[in-house]
């Protein structure tokens, strides 16, 4: 679903996605310091393995993206984490495509980075665990919905015959958003208890 294969998108979309991804990754690499490198690697590995687990769901099968969690924990560093994991997924398993690497990276990472940066500080400040879990869940769910919207947009902009149908998108992305919200909230609640600093992309 977020892994768009080769040969479907048009050249302008591929190039635009590639440029956006390059910008995002440049931003991520600039922020990579001794603290960020292991965190980025661990989350990249988690995303790599996590998005291989797919659950059959009616007309399709869905898998976790963890993009909200990456956005909260890494900020812009999520671009690098997603790019590396997607590159390995296409090389090892043929998921997605080499030409669509840029578009897929943006589709998955961008919503997570935006929502993570917007709500991340509030999650760190939150005193009540329930509020924190709620905010984290919102980041997870919104990131997934944002990814769905971006995937649909890239297919629609390509003007291909494969433009997604809104009803199918809603039917597949809503359950995924709920699952993602639950997973993100659980992990964030756990981290806030044992290692609150892990939730900050950069230490103040």
């Amino acid at each position: 679903m977020a892994h768009i294969p080769d040969g479907i998108l048009s050249a302008p979309v591929l190039i635009g996605g590639g440029l956006l991804a390059a910008g995002g990754v440049a931003l991520a690499v600039r922020g990579l310091d001794d603290r960020a490198i292991p965190r980025t690697a661990i989350l990249s590995a988690a995303f790599f393995a996590g998005s291989l687990i797919a659950v059959p769901m009616g007309p399709t099968s869905i898998h976790l993206l963890l993009s909200g969690l990456m956005g909260i924990m890494l900020g812009a560093g999520a671009f690098a984490a997603v790019l590396v994991a997607l590159a390995l997924q296409v090389l090892l398993f043929g998921f997605g495509g080499l030409t669509t690497l840029g578009v897929n990276t943006v589709n998955i990472a961008l919503p997570g980075v935006l929502f993570g940066m917007a709500l991340g500080p509030a999650i760190c400040e939150a005193r009540a665990p329930a509020l924190r879990a709620l905010l984290a869940g919102a980041v997870g769910a919104l990131s997934v919905l944002g990814t769905g919207a971006l995937v649909a947009l890239s297919l629609a902009l390509s003007g291909s015959e494969y433009t997604p149908v809104a009803s199918v998108l809603v039917a597949t992305y809503l359950p995924l958003a709920l699952g993602e919200a639950f997973v993100t909230a659980t992990i964030v609640a756990f981290l806030a208890r044992v290692q609150p600093d892990a939730l900050r992309p950069a230490l103040p």
Partner: protein, 183 residues
Amino acid sequence: MRRRAAALLFLIFGLAVPAQAHKLKVFATVEGTSVAGYAFFIGGGRPHGTPWTAKDSSGEIAGGTTDAEGRFAFTLPPAGAAGDVTVTVDTREGHIASATLSAARLGGSAAPATAMAVRTAAPTPATTDITAAVEAAVQRQVEPLLERIEELDARLRVTDIVSGIFLILGLGGMALWARGRRR
């Protein structure tokens, strides 16, 4: 503490990884003039009620939606297909896959018949019947093999997953080392 959190993450994914994966594939076989097959997700699951189309070089020759087991079937046009036939399944939310049946496979029943025609001048109805019967029998025997090959081809190997994870961690280590050297 952070290490413990990471270990927990790995445990969660480590336990679940071999279960499922995520990529749409199409499997199709030819028997005489009918084509049948199904779409499947690597690791499990079939797309239900998903539109599919079959095209040859002259355009669309068949289409429809898959059944509850992700299956589709159609008959080739009486005049035969023009060139290769490609069956495409589109779940309409970003998953698209296709399988191409080469013209050689599609002509399977026609080619031996003409070859025989050269030898026997006029094929009796009996020989064409035998050809069709052999064709069907071979197809029946070979189909599970083809399915199995497709499955093996598409399998997620645990070694690949593990090497992917450690490649990422290795990249992290290399980045740390490079930063340490620069200082």
